[in-house]
Subunit: 471 residues, 4 copies
């Protein structure tokens, strides 16, 4: 690394990322992954974070400019990342020959650091929704599709979007998706609208992966849905506007509100086959949620770092004392530390499970972190904002934007409540067996009383009885 | 196992404990530990939990009776446990030849199940404060002390107490401890009082490990304190009363308020040597906190099991629906699941760290779980209580007692706030380096602006300026 | 007041209760009520609180003793209270000639102080469930019933219980109540069981007001239920046991689990008439919830007082500083103050509304405080417990018992969740109108755009459109 | 009102604001205020809210445009408001002849409705910081100052800013303010920088009220500070940039970062006199905090209205049911209702106290609402956002902006923590007296034991004593 070497040479007491891996995870981390992890950390801290404001400035001002921009700094970082071997680390080993050969756990550790910078994920070609889209294409794409879309995505030349959510329905329940996909001869014709089409704002976005209803009368609500590939420049597509996130536009990536009017694509563009939409999206979701979660952990860590920096700012002495002398601040730091560490372990455990038995069997663990991590990150970031006062909500710190991003994480891929409902129902399946177990235990207690010749008396029994009753 | 075989043969879909170990912990768990774990689970669920009410009944009524009781059921269970090989599992392998040969992580997994029953820990000779006291004796005791106290403790024949907290000072800061220990000839003479002397109520309690001030003028507040062995029947000792815990007396174990008036013990009874009290107690605390934490996890799991059982009770249908049809109940179940799982991983990681590098280097992780776990368990238990309504706060369920026990865990071994203060200060040590890092990053950003010939303009700059200022 | 005059003469800066009434409530408080309020405060602080431990000691030990006790100190205090004019203040003026002539708001202010002592409410003949039962008898009783039961209750000679909750059903939905009430000739015959029969433990309890099903096939679930008067000594009644509350027995009052086996009472004992049970209990609930809530406010205030006392205990200096020098303690005090004050205003406002338009039209306000106040009190008490460490959970302070009592308040008269469900549904009735309003506002916005010749463009619109769509 | 009459004629079951005043507040509200309140409500709902998007559109795009804009819709609304008599309602009666003659409580009720719209406050000439600045000028200004600045402000012709916070110090402690104010001949010369200069972005802003240090060596940190009037176009002033609030620019009002370089104003521009800065700002803060708080209550109410509308949107049916059929949503609505109502009562009580005894004596109540209300509003808004999913964080609803605004309220006028510290310290002043009271109560208990010939025995005493100790 040619740069200032902020961490290794300058920072007193610096301990590299690989030595801060929670010990319980160590047996699952290869030496190669540790080495890469340390490179990732330094790349993020020394190259990406300092470049974030350059990226912001190169975006320019105004909607048109910002959503046409392709900041040169990004390509420079991509070149550096590629040279450092930091490229496509997200593609899990064993499944994809195109990836860097890491497990989900190993990449998860790296994703934490990527999450500290606005641009680091893309610099390593590991940014959503491309990651999930590449997985879909790699898993389910035809050879032709792979050549046309996957290869340039893997090289970081184009970008992609995933179009699922629709404004007019409760998309948190994906069976509600309405986008019409009708077969006409050799083509599929799409009509409808989508929003929260993240990434669609980028001028380099060339391919949409679209979910819609191809078989609206199928008895199975699931079999009604298909996933289909739609080139971004297909006639009939209109981007109406970009949605803001707590005031931020996320340019050039963005979150599009898009309409489809008689949009036609070749029959071959359907993924896996008609009616297999749920199969496609379910295969896509597990790793993505782990990535989001670990990046959120990284954001929380960075917020805590800024918090700690503020606490030691000698210019900021309310009531004559450094913030670090105020017990309530130390308490918040401690609770942030505790919560982040617990959340990280949850994600790492989910990643390990996914590595060991696949995403389907790790659904519970994945759902848990989907709910736990954003809430945790938001608490930490909010505490850091509060420590900064006005600076915390403004452009002066990265905190407000991190909060906005974190807030959407409670909604992206389904709101917390949907996941909790599912988790609760799943847990509730144990209910009948547990009820039976408790009853068996109570019955055994009864027989113990009998066996020991003890009369079972509630210690609070009141011998004022004048009669007897069957309870 | 001779009993009803509640779990294995009767329970539909039963999955043994060893198969529910979080996958991330698996590499640290031996096959032997897994087998023992499954035996522990069955012993607790099939033998101990059903026997809990027998134990309660055998205690009798009234303070005098309850604190003289030695319920026969306990000795029966101890015999069973011993036969099953479930004895002294807490003594960590490598350190003590007397133990069962498990790591802290392995025993932690078992302790979770022990924590589901009121009497299981003692049935396996793994109950506090004997565990910590045995560690002290094994580590620091002379051979004579070991023969006299450690051996019968290891065999479960006697019990012990640890006397640290004092009513008249803020004992959360142990340098405040005032119990006077004065050398007179061949003896040490103790004067003062202690409370929260847990275990002192048991008629089988024969030895007190006492902290006190032997060198009150020493410049180091730490070196003022010593730990000394005091037989429970030494003249001058008075148990004034037993402290209740949210209304519970925890008989016969109990929490004593005890005074010492010219209590004399031989000079040799000092542990490690005068002024080494802090060394002794610090060595004692790490594993104990892990044990407490894992038992609390077990309590939380049991509360959740009762919660789930209630949700499926067909007699309990507010507004015509099973509780399990009420979304808010499912939501609480889900959040309980999430929180317990994250808390467990935190404890397991702390245990692994303790196994790998020792308790001293795992202080941060241990403090984290000390704070996190009781708060988590209390939330879960409270939710279960609420689901049960009146039954939840009464003797009808194990929940109210579990809540009381859990509540004290936020105080035992120092209140949350003390641990958070310590954690916060520890974390704050990174503050200066992080401040420097952030400043270096900002500086690098400046040089990037310069290098690229960009003028660094805040995107929100307002060119209404009429002058110029040095900011 | 003959006693030490703890407050007026000894306490520096003491401000009497009447001068601490929230100013917004003042117009509703008569001068006479203010005078009485100050007497109540002094009676509680100077007489009742110091007598609480006497009461506890006079109860004795053991279930049989405690539930047969009638501590003499109570009758002494009743005599004092009566002399001071502090008697039956709960009976709202205008409705009952027998009361002291105060409004619900005025009595509410007094109830706060009663709630600070374990025995003050009963000392003033203002304790539940007698208060609600007296209201029922005064409102709906026949003259004969009034003479037999109401008069001695008003004089504080006997006590009463209200038997609604049943162990085998979800009683939070009162239509589930199953106690069978069958007409046989001139009698009603009762069969079934009740629990949480609060007050039934007292040996002076002579009358049960019982809810049960007299018309099980009535199409209206509400009309199935009746309320009936049952003398406590009627044959066929068995008190099986007293329920504990987080380990406390609440003796001699207690919470009974009672069975009815062919319990016969005269036909005339039905209240208001068969099928009018809901009418009776609904008339009873409003004031009782206000009383509970204000007493809980008093408990929270007392907890905060103990908290503040601890913060200034010179013997308790963790890390060399008084607790009051620790910012996190001051923060908790502040938040306790804020929350208590807001909760009190909510109760006072509900009381005013009840005074102005009756309990039925104040259901929303009453439900709000039913949920808000216990949660608030528990937070405050829990913070005080934590400040005290071990002393906080033990018999050394009044805090643990206050916590236990407060915890049941989240369940008594229906769990929070039931009230929130009802409140939520009630609020949701506005949903359609609000939806219409918002749509009308959006439509008006459209017409404003048109009127002003403005094209309605989303500021984030992206003019990359190649087509057009109907959104 | 000429418009659509959204509320009165169209909305089923509409109840005007005056009839929804909490009953406890009614005695303090004049008939005239009730009438005005209803007009305010309709003006906001029927005129301002529909015009909010017009205002947004008329602002245009880009920093320069937005901070030069003066949307015509605002002047139209000001004309309407003025005609309706809705002008300067904030100036409290009794103190200022220029106002509309309402009490702080009465205006508080109105401010709630103003807080529902982005532009309603300014439309009624009741927007911060002009309100506080007008109070300062009216209270402390010379006649000449009043003519030059107060009169046009009262007429809504110009705007003003209050410059206190500085980026380089912990401004939450105002004694830290560093802006240098030096006397040179007939002038004061200012040097330094300010930020969070709210309102400074508006092109109509003509006057800054600036706090700074005129006597840096004064022994009293308070007497060092002065407040001075600085015309916005004075040479030497530079607006460097506008600060964003969670991504929003709040144009044209804005929050400026401004530098002063040798800015000269006449000697007469000092307010009240040198060294009296704290006197000036303290007089200014009370009413402003009430206004902020009540507007936040209005924002929370509007968020709840949107929440309820969403719950009844027939197009949004996750899992086949309206959101309003999901218990967890109803629960959140209920808790929102409870919390808003309690918070409103707190503000109204603080306003009443301020009306009765002045802001200085109402500091506690004002500080309480300063902390309570924003936290409450944020919880409600956050719940509404979550119900909306993606729409909630985007420009599709008013919720995200309301959240951003609410978040800053936890910082504006000092962060929560500073107010809690102050509140806690203030409350702690009672500590010594309370400690003495509790000790006196315990002593009285002792003498009661003695008087009754009772031996004071802890019910948990264990008579195993072999000796005696002085406890």
């Amino acid at each position: 690394m040619s740069s200032q070497e902020l961490l290794v040479n300058s920072e007193k007491g610096y301990v590299p990322a690989s030595e801060r891996i929670p010990p319980i995870a160590l047996p699952y981390v290869s030496e190669r992954a540790k080495k890469t992890l340390d490179i990732v950390e330094r790349f993020v801290e020394e190259e990406c974070i300092p470049a974030d404001p350059i990226f912001m400035q190169q975006l320019g001002e105004g909607v048109q400019a910002r959503f046409s921009a392709h900041p040169p700094i990004l390509e420079e970082l991509k070149a550096k990342a590629s040279k450092l071997g930091l490229w496509n680390m997200f593609l899990p080993k064993g499944h994809f020959k195109e990836g860097a050969g890491f497990s989900n756990l190993e990449y998860g550790l790296m994703a934490e650091y990527l999450g500290k910078s606005r641009i680091a994920s893309e610099a390593c070609n590991c940014s959503a929704p491309d990651t999930g889209n590449m997985e879909v294409l790699a898993k389910y794409g035809t050879e032709a599709q792979k050549r046309r879309w996957l290869d340039p995505l893997l090289r970081g030349e184009i970008r992609s979007a995933f179009l699922m959510t629709e404004p007019q329905v409760a998309s948190s329940d994906a069976t509600n998706i309405e986008m019409s996909i009708v077969r006409q001869g050799d083509e599929w014709v799409l009509n409808g609208q989508k929003w929260w089409s993240s990434g669609a704002g980028d001028p380099r976005c060339q391919i949409y992966i679209v979910m819609g209803k191809s078989d609206p009368t199928n008895a199975s609500a699931y079999a009604q849905q298909s996933v289909i590939l739609v080139p971004a420049n297909t006639p009939g597509i209109t981007i109406h506007r970009m949605l803001s996130v707590m005031g931020y536009d996320d340019a050039p990536h963005g979150h599009g509100h898009i309409s489809f009017e008689n949009v036609r694509v070749p029959a071959a563009n359907i993924v896996l086959g008609p009616g297999r939409g749920f199969e496609v999206i379910q295969g896509r979701l597990g790793p993505g949620r782990i990535h989001h979660a670990m990046r959120s952990i990284g954001a929380a860590e960075r917020a805590l770092e800024w918090f700690l920096a503020r606490m030691n700012d000698p210019r900021k002495k309310p009531f004559g004392q450094l913030l670090s002398a105020h017990g309530i601040m130390l308490d918040r730091v401690a609770r942030s530390r505790i919560d982040i560490d617990a959340a990280r372990l949850s994600v790492l455990n989910a990643a390990v499970k996914m590595d060991l038995v696949g995403a389907k069997k790790a659904l519970k663990e994945i759902a848990e972190v989907k709910v736990l991590v954003p809430a945790t990150a938001l608490r930490v970031i909010d505490a850091a904002i509060q420590a900064y006062g006005g600076a915390g909500v403004s452009q002066e710190t990265p905190l407000a934007y991190m909060y906005a991003l974190g807030r959407t994480m409670r909604i992206v891929d389904g709101p917390d409540e949907v996941h909790c409902l599912q988790l609760g129902r799943n847990e509730n399946k144990r209910g009948a067996a547990l009820k039976a177990r408790i009853e068996a235990q109570l019955k055994k207690t009864d027989s113990l009383f009998e066996a020991k010749g003890l009369k079972k008396i509630d210690p609070m029994a009141l011998n004022r009885s004048t009669g007897k009753a069957k309870l």
